[in-house]
């Protein structure tokens, strides 16, 4: 057997080196010979037994006396007998009821104490039943009790085998096994295990001696050891480097936030400028500006959350309101024939919670630079059942590219770049898509190294009804990416609700896969 003794604790080392093969030892012996306290003994025995270095030789019974709550009070403030003697010596004779009142004791307790003390010649009583001290001071028995109390307070308990016969006699009267709250000592029977070295323990002992380990090696390197230089003549105890470390509770990013952070950094590194906006939007920006007809099925009460109050915004910014309204009605000057219905200028002020990220792309148009690239990772709200595939609110990643020369092929190039840079895709496929605000519209499907083929996002060129009405005369590429699916994969999750988990432990333990 290959014994690793380097990592033994000093208590183990000292124990192993102290006892010889064949000898018996117990707590009492180590306390006496090695100045261990009881706790240290127990620790050493439990570790050594677990390692198989010591084994049980036999068990021995012993009696100990533990100080009770009352006993501690006696030790500190005096026993009733001591207090009676003290009061009488200081204040002179008095009658028993008065003595009881004076000390806050029951009459019968004072009575029985008097009986005992008068027998021992400590107290006496005159004809008027005044009790007084004889001047003899404490009796031998009282002194014995005092000594027991003080030793017990110091050591926590008293070993029955340590007591003299007088002490045994005295403590017998003031201790009980059960219901000990009325007496100063509780009697307890202890079973003590007596150990001896196992063959492995004997081998370990040899190994320790061979290695010159005494248990006096330096443990933690303290400032004192450094300032005194005391470390110089000593060796250092080797630690068990395999023992499991403590857990660190660290300050940390939310892993999903970290992923979004990375996406934002990536997009800004690709030349995109970030946009953001308020959570409350109007129907104007949420749908009308995106050329979704006001009667469109996706604009139903069952698709968008309406704000209860204020139900309507005060106004919609001009000239965009007039231009968008005209584009819906007859195409305005966009070259479109429009939807051919009467635009509702009251409905357009209706307030909703933003339902799609494209809203902010459109809102960016009036102030956008040409050429320009913009993006946003924005919170959206959709009227839907909350389940593993959709939350009440979620992030969408959207953006636009404006330029005189951008066209379908640059849109495909852009999508290819996203597929490679953000999704790490191996293959990219483009298929015609449909969005009310882009024409042509393209969906990009990618072959992801782990997820296989899936739709990375939707895109297109903003319809002139959208871009021209918002003051832009150049083509605008618009795109949106399904980031959450990849975020889930990165985090090893499969439920979108988990991205917004309130559970601290889950979030603390979560990490990239």
């Amino acid at each position: 057997m290959d014994l690793d003794v380097k990592s033994l604790h000093p208590l183990e080392v000292k124990t192993l080196r102290h006892v010889k093969p064949g000898e018996e030892f117990d707590t009492e012996r180590l306390v006496m010979e090695l100045s261990f306290n009881i706790g240290q003994c127990n620790q050493a025995f439990s570790w050594l037994a677990a390692k198989g270095f010591i084994e049980e030789a036999r068990r021995s019974e012993r009696v100990v006396y533990e100080l009770t709550e009352l006993g501690r009070s006696y030790a500190e403030k005096g026993t009733p007998e001591e207090r009676i003697v003290e009061v009488l010596e200081q204040e002179g004779p008095m009658k028993m009821p008065e003595l009881a009142r004076r000390l806050g004791l029951e009459n019968r307790d004072v009575g029985s104490a008097y009986g005992q003390l008068s027998k021992e010649g400590v107290l006496s009583m005159d004809a008027e039943k005044n009790v007084s001290s004889t001047g003899e001071g404490a009796s031998e028995r009282m002194k014995t009790v005092r000594s027991l109390l003080e030793r017990a307070q110091k050591n926590g308990e008293l070993e029955g085998s340590d007591l003299s016969s007088e002490e045994q006699q005295a403590i017998g009267k003031i201790s009980k096994k059960r219901g000990a709250s009325g007496v100063p000592f509780k009697t307890a029977d202890r079973e003590e295990i007596v150990y001896r070295l196992s063959p492995n323990g004997a081998a370990a002992r040899e190994a320790l001696i061979a290695a010159g380990m005494t248990g006096e090696e330096i443990g933690a390197l303290s400032p004192e050891l450094l300032s005194t230089g005391a470390w110089k003549n000593k060796s250092f105890r080797a630690y068990n480097i395999q023992s499991p470390p403590n857990r660190v509770l660290l300050g940390r990013r939310n892993p999903y936030g970290e992923y979004l952070h990375w996406v934002k950094d990536k997009l800004s590194s690709l030349g995109f400028e970030e946009f953001d906006g308020p959570l409350v939007e109007t129907e104007f920006w949420n749908g009308d500006a995106l050329f979704m007809p006001q009667f469109h099925s996706a604009r139903d009460i069952h698709d968008v959350y309406y704000v209860k109050n204020p139900s309507h915004a005060k106004e919609i910014e001009q000239p965009y309101l007039d231009q968008v309204a005209a584009a819906h009605e007859n195409g305005w000057t966009t070259g479109s024939r429009g939807w051919g219905y009467s635009f509702d200028r009251n409905f357009t002020r209706r307030q909703v919670l933003r339902s799609q990220g494209t809203v902010l792309s459109a809102k960016q148009l009036p102030q956008a630079k040409v050429p320009g690239k913009y993006f946003g990772v924005v919170r959206c709200f959709r009227y839907d059942q909350v389940d593993a595939t959709q939350g009440a609110d979620f992030y969408q990643t959207e953006g636009i590219v404006l330029g005189e020369e951008v066209n379908l092929r640059t849109l495909l190039g852009l999508l290819k770049m996203f597929a490679e840079e953000i999704a790490g895709a191996e293959e990219v496929k483009y298929v015609p898509g449909y969005f009310p605000f882009t024409e042509p519209s393209i969906e990009v499907h990618i072959k992801h190294p782990e997820l296989g083929w899936f739709e990375l996002g939707g895109s297109g060129i903003f319809r002139p009804e959208v871009s021209k009405s918002l003051g832009v005369d150049v083509p605008v590429l618009a795109w949106g990416l399904g980031i959450d699916r990849m975020a889930l994969m990165h985090l090893g999750l499969n439920d979108l609700r988990e991205l917004f988990s309130p559970n601290i432990e889950n979030v603390r333990l979560r990490r990239n896969q």
Partner: protein, 566 residues
Amino acid sequence: MPKIEVFQDALYKYAGKKYGDHELEEMLTVAKGELDDKDESSSELKIELNDTNRPDLWSTAGVGRQLRVYKTGEVPQYDFFSTADKEQDYGDRVVKIDPSVKDVRPYEVALAARGRAIDEATLKDIIQTQEKLCWNFGRKRRSIAIGVFRSDLLTYPITYRAADPDETKFVPLQMEEKLSLRQMTTEHPKGREYGHIVADFSTYPYLEDAKGEALSFPPVINSAYTGAVKVGDENIFIEMTGTELRDLILTANIVACDLADAGFEILPVKIVYPYETEFGGEIVSPFYFQQPVELELDRARKMLGVDFSPAQAKEALQKMGVRAEGEEKITVTVPPYRNDFLHEVDIIEDIMIGHGMDRFEPIMPSDFTPGRLTAEEEFARKVRDIMIGMGFQEMMYNYLGSKRDFIDKMELSGEEFIQIENPMTENYEFVRASIMPNLLHSESVSAHAVYPHHIFEIGKIAYLHDADNSGTVTRNSLGFLSSDGEVGFNEVSAHVSAIFYYLSRDYRLEELDDPRFIPGRAARILYRDQSAGMFGEVHPRVLENWGVQMPCTCCEIDLDTISLEE
């Protein structure tokens, strides 16, 4: 987005060719369709169609037609369409519109078909087309409702009028007794679903034939006698009522083309209006109303980034079923079943699809633009770094919640909260006006997590704010919470102090009386003499409301206020 079910064999018959599953998936992209599911036992396919402006694709015949045309490049010809200049023979088939429907449901269009006994697949497809068109294109029957009838049982002319809801009675489909129109709106399942569309009118739309035989109570239900089309029927009459005439005519055209492709002979019907419509007082349906559209080819070249020859562009359009003539300026003849060319970009997209996606080579945009994060994001990142440095775990929460969590448990009155008018459940009825309830929610579900807890979130909050145009305001906010047996005011105050120190900003504190905190242990943060947040020891009543049994301190700081330079 409509999803249709088609029998594979029927689809391939219309498509003129059999496809393997993978091949079919590829082909469906030209119809912006996705193969959603396939039932191997019945060989029934589920196809999702994404383009809400192409209702002609929402049937087996429609998808099959697009696939066939794409493959062959042959544009289908239908000879039964009337135009403004040329009327087809409508025989004795006339529908008279009574002036009384003008304010109730003003338009009606119809056609008849005869030919072969309807088989089960065709009947199923007719019913499905009817449902999809009414639901998605007809706004749940509001603007379009379709009825199919056994024309052998009908006598022309048919009248469309507004009728007395109580006096007018017939036996509706799925029932055996006569009901008044009003009774149908409450007693018939379809009445309960669609009755509300006409419920507010004093008279209800009603169709009857020359002999007074009921056809239907549109948009609710057909007669059980005339309107129960069965397998084996050879002659059918189809009509649609609604509020948008163009949409109705387009719908009739789609149905006519579908039936023609299924082998039926289409029999035109004349609709006689007592009032003018945009197509005159008499319309013979199916009616080709579309106008030719023009496109400068250079526009398509610029948008698609490819130098097409006129022949290539025309060939591409032909594959989409669109005939085009001309050279540099082409004139497009819109198919009778389509009305989605609002703008030349819509034609350009058809050129793109017809040309084939894989023939466009991706190129990178060459314009240089500097990338940049918002100032708010940059600031948030600084604050986040400080919080993490102080040992806080970042959390991310949903922004919607319940009155119970956001208001009641926080002991607030809630008047500044933004409420949702149409919540799906009371669990998501309010927008958060503070991050604190989210943080306490975390505590309420995390008693098992090793203490101490130090958590924070940087996110948006929104609340009512009169001065803004929307009457609300959205702010970027920092919320953080510490929980453990030892936490107290001093610790959270130290955290606040560190945040401001490392942001190089000064702040003042003043006493705060807030039900969320223990009185005397709460502070308001003032930055440039403006309120910028608050912190303190969370009141045990609030902790009790959340079922939290560990002391907590909490702080919230308005980042948009403290991001301003001193």
